[in-house]
Amino acid sequence: MSTRLPNGGRLVNRTKVLNFRFNGRKLKGFEGDTVASALMANDQKVVGRSFKYHRPRGIFASGPEEPNALFTIGKDGEREPNQIGTTTELAEGLEVKSQNHWPTLETDVGSVANLGSNLIPAGFYYKTFMAPRQAWKYLFEPAIRQSAGLGQPPTEWDVDHYEHLYLHTDILVVGGGVAGLLATSLLAETGLRILLLEQSPNFGGRLVQDHADFGEGTSQDWVNSTLQELSSSKNVTMRSRTSVAGIYDHGFVIADERLPNTTGKKGYLKRRLWKIRAKRIVLAAGAIERPLCFAGNDIPGVRLASGVRDYLINYGVSPGDRTAIITNNDDAYRTAIALAESGLSVPLILDTRMEIRGTLPTKAKNLGLRIQPARGISEVLGKKAVSGLEMCSQVGEGTSLEKIGCESIAVSGGWSPTVHLWSHCNGKLKWDETKVMFVPDWTHPPIDSNGNQNIFPVGSANGYLQLHEITCQVEQIVRQVAREFDKDLPEIQLPHAQEITEDRCYGTWLIPYSMKPRKKMKAWVDYQNDVKVSDIDLAVLEGFESIEHSKRYTTLGMATDQGKTSNVNGIALVSHNLGIPMDKVGTTTFRPPYSPIPLGAIAGSAGKKLFKPIRKTPIDAWHVSQNAHWEPVSDWRRPYCYLLEGESVENAVNRETLRVRTTVGMLDATTLGKILVKGKDAAKFLDLIYTNAISTLKPGRCRYGLMCDENGFLMDDGVVARLDETTFLCHTTTGGADHIHGWLEDWLQCEWWDWRVYTANITDQYVQIGIAGPEARNVLDKIGGMDLGDETLPFMSWKKGILGGHEVQVYRISFSGELSFEISLRASEGLELWEKIHEAGQEFSIEPYGTEALHVLRAEKGFIMIGDETDGTIIPQDLGLDWAISRKKDDFLGKRGQQRSYLADPNRWKLVGLEVLDNDEPLPHGVYAQCETKSEFDHPRMEGRVTSTYYSPILKRPIAMGLVERGTERMGEVIKFNCGDKMIKAKIVSHIAYNTD
């Protein structure tokens, strides 16, 4: 039984009891517990089921490397699957559920897979389930999907929220263990800006549980005084509970801060994603202990030796009365000593090494512990919990020498530096044969934008496990880092660390060395994904020799822990199999994040109403009051139509369209882009930008212009008004304003930079109100102030004036064929004039109209719409806009592109009108016309398509425009549109449907 000890537990507050539930069962823990430590204190042996074989799995580690103890935590809108029990802090009322089993954790039907595990080794699915063909979709895949996956996904929307935080720092120190704290305190002297991030709630790392004394007094004293000193440094920022997740180019770092819910209320700020720019990064991320591969090494009760020590010292939890130890290094003796000193039994220490002489083993021996050199485990006894082990010789085949009873086995296969972050941006690793670990290769470091090394690993992350080595090495590296900022660290007295003698770790990858195939099927490498030693053998046997291949074939290291405990063992087994050195096998690429981060944290606060900006005109609130039905147009929202009570969208559009045709309508045209172009070369410049001649435009006049890209494709259109000799106002489409402004600036800055032209995007400065319909002038006359008669303001001209007391510019242009004015005035006065017009218009039955009526009106008159008639491959000539292409100009953007053979082809599709023959049936959007002949691909050849199709309420029939092969030469011809379930015939007619004269 694992239990809470009567004393001890440096991180728990025994005066504060926390109640929680595990699978519905009421349990108690203490403040400071993790979910895992609390469960262990309550003797919960099985905490989950493995991914593939649904084998029972117990708590294995004590940090983010935990492969087994994953839980679904919380309920309703707070429920979150796959939470790591070893890093999740216990809280009052927490609902914890185990995962991946049915019906219960104890009795899981899925574990039948375990019985047949011999039949389903790595990659078995590539070799079977192929017949009959349909069975994969309908039988095998659904079955596999159901048994795979870990937690149940949430079903309700998240009640909590997330945010981001940018921070620039000179130095980021990753990890608040002894190396990180020491580095920070040394660097703090320099005055440089330092950010220290620690993933757990507590600083100190492994220092306190592994070393009694450090510096002047106890190691805890040192941690406390260092923290105190740092918290008073103005240039140091520290955060615990913040895990550095990824390092990207140019010193960009993301870190995931877990915020405790201090108020206990629902809907709190749960995570903060830090986006850091660091000039230099000191990587003090520590190291992770490796397990050993022996038969039954996944049975609940087998744990990492460091984890056992953590539970004991940090949380006061006993792993069981009797703990056997198996190790290939000296560090695990710390666990043995700690257990013995707590009064627990350590029946046996199995050490795979031949000779054991170090300080720690000697101390263990002096405590009277039994140490067996050159021994391993033949097999662990027990099913859902360890009940004992069979000892064997390490060098043999695993003949049992002795049976030992125990409830707990502490394993240490040596340590792996946490090099993930070093590698994210291409830092290379090298295999250190004496240390038996992959260490950062300082000759191939990650670099910053200047090509200089920007990550500096220290402490165990750099392969130094001994405390006195760590302190010296931290100082040396930190000096180097400071010098890069032209800072010298003063000579200082490093905290004293006791030197101990340690024998080197011995790379023991299989226990016993000549493990039999049957045992290899019980020796686990990746606990969560159920990868066994036999699976690695199989992968290599089948030629998956590259580590990337064997990883993908066996799924080694692809579970939620991303191989933190399994990768090196896997690589070693491949190396062992192929008989090539570790270095040659290499590692798989480490990818962010180091620990998983919630997608919600990545999305940040930009959810719901902040997902994307919604641009609104000053008239927006008025539209709302008139029950506008909205349409997003680029980032703007525009009224699609205004709904009267009980009115359908369709009816509203028809009503609005007719209103303009019969009396008068008003349109909020504010969103149209307005770009000012001014300068001595402005006319010359616009002649190159537009396909038609702009320089010939007279001040006071307007001209419809087309812009093409260099391919010759029509990009944007709009009315250009010449304000004076050197100033033009170019109107663009709503979606095109920013792009076109950028486009103009691009040419001015990068091609014709000596031309004297300035531009400005002044779209938001003005409200633009369109008044269209036979009564348009009467409405404006009623408001008064300007003579808008044909003589003073002819079609395609503009003028300034005072209208209803507002300074305005009035443009006499039309997109509907009706008498029409566009009135532009400063945005802050826009709503006032809008309301005046609306009021004045009442006697003429004025109504606002939306974008859809605008589209119907323009389509009735055969005007094109960018995005409908164009799609990025259409040239103006296709649309009958040859008249807007100057033949006199030597050059304009797109001219050369249009000369290319495919664009000059006379067989191109041309814009025409389409009149359906069966009267009431409109042509659907986007349908294609097909001919009797076949295309080269053996389906009917297409000869045209519908680009715009509407019901015209004034004509009381459907109208459509489309592009048809040589369409303009085929007037009157009938073509067939394939509408899926039927063919619709349409006659090719003029694209102008209404008022054709």
Binding site: H161, E163, H164, L165, Y166, L167, H168, R193, S231, T237, M238, R239, T263, L269, R272, K275, R277, S605, A606, K609, L610, K612, P613, I614, R615, K616, T617, P618, W636, L676, K678, G679, K680, R756, Y758, T759, A760, I762, T763, D764, Q765, Y766, R826, A827, S828
Partner: protein
């Protein structure tokens, strides 16, 4: 370590009636520099800076653009004046008082609130008094400057004001502001 940030959390207020003038031209030109000083009483600001005298501020927008903040009622006359003083030199001078919204931000922890949404270096030695920083706030283009630690300004496009306000609001919830700067 983290201080409590509750209390006097920053508020965003839109300022009405600020006159703004777009001024494009060759900022190195003597004519221009003289014209600016004569008309506004404020010198052309250095790169990335804003200079203020009384009611007038001049902000450096780009190597050939200034943004003039002036009393709204004087915009017309100032533009006329500037145009006249610039004479034949190439310029684009325009009344853009309605193009952008001007916000005043008052309270403590303004840097922290902004840091949630802008990628710039907001450390005190980098973002200083007199700095005029164009950047983004969430997904929109803005510029920041400040008068004092507890009084900052921000401008953005008029049509994006609501987004700016809402984003500021969710970023300045009192219990959710970290103490950093």
């Amino acid at each position: 370590m983290a201080k409590s940030t509750v209390g006097n959390t920053p508020k965003l207020n839109m300022l009405d009636d600020i006159g703004m003038i777009l001024f494009r031209g060759d900022l190195k030109s003597k004519t221009l520099q003289n014209a600016i000083v004569e008309v506004n009483g404020v010198k052309v600001p250095a790169r990335g800076k804003i200079s203020t005298e009384d009611q007038t501020s001049l902000a450096w927008m780009s190597p050939d653009e200034l943004l003039l903040f002036v009393p709204l009622e004087r915009v017309g006359e100032l533009i006329e004046d500037l145009n006249q003083k610039m004479g034949e030199e190439d310029t684009l001078i325009w009344d853009i008082s309605d193009l952008r919204s001007v916000f005043e931000i008052e309270g403590n922890f303004i840097r922290e609130v902004l840091a949630k949404n802008t990628p710039i270096d907001l450390n005190r030695d980098k973002m200083r008094k007199g700095t005029f920083r164009r950047t983004r706030f969430g997904q929109i283009a803005v510029a920041f400057w400040f008068e004092s630690e507890t009084k900052w300004f921000m401008i953005c496009r008029r049509s994006e004001s609501e987004y700016a306000q809402r984003l500021f609001e969710v970023s300045s919830i009192p219990s959710e502001i970290p103490s950093i700067f």
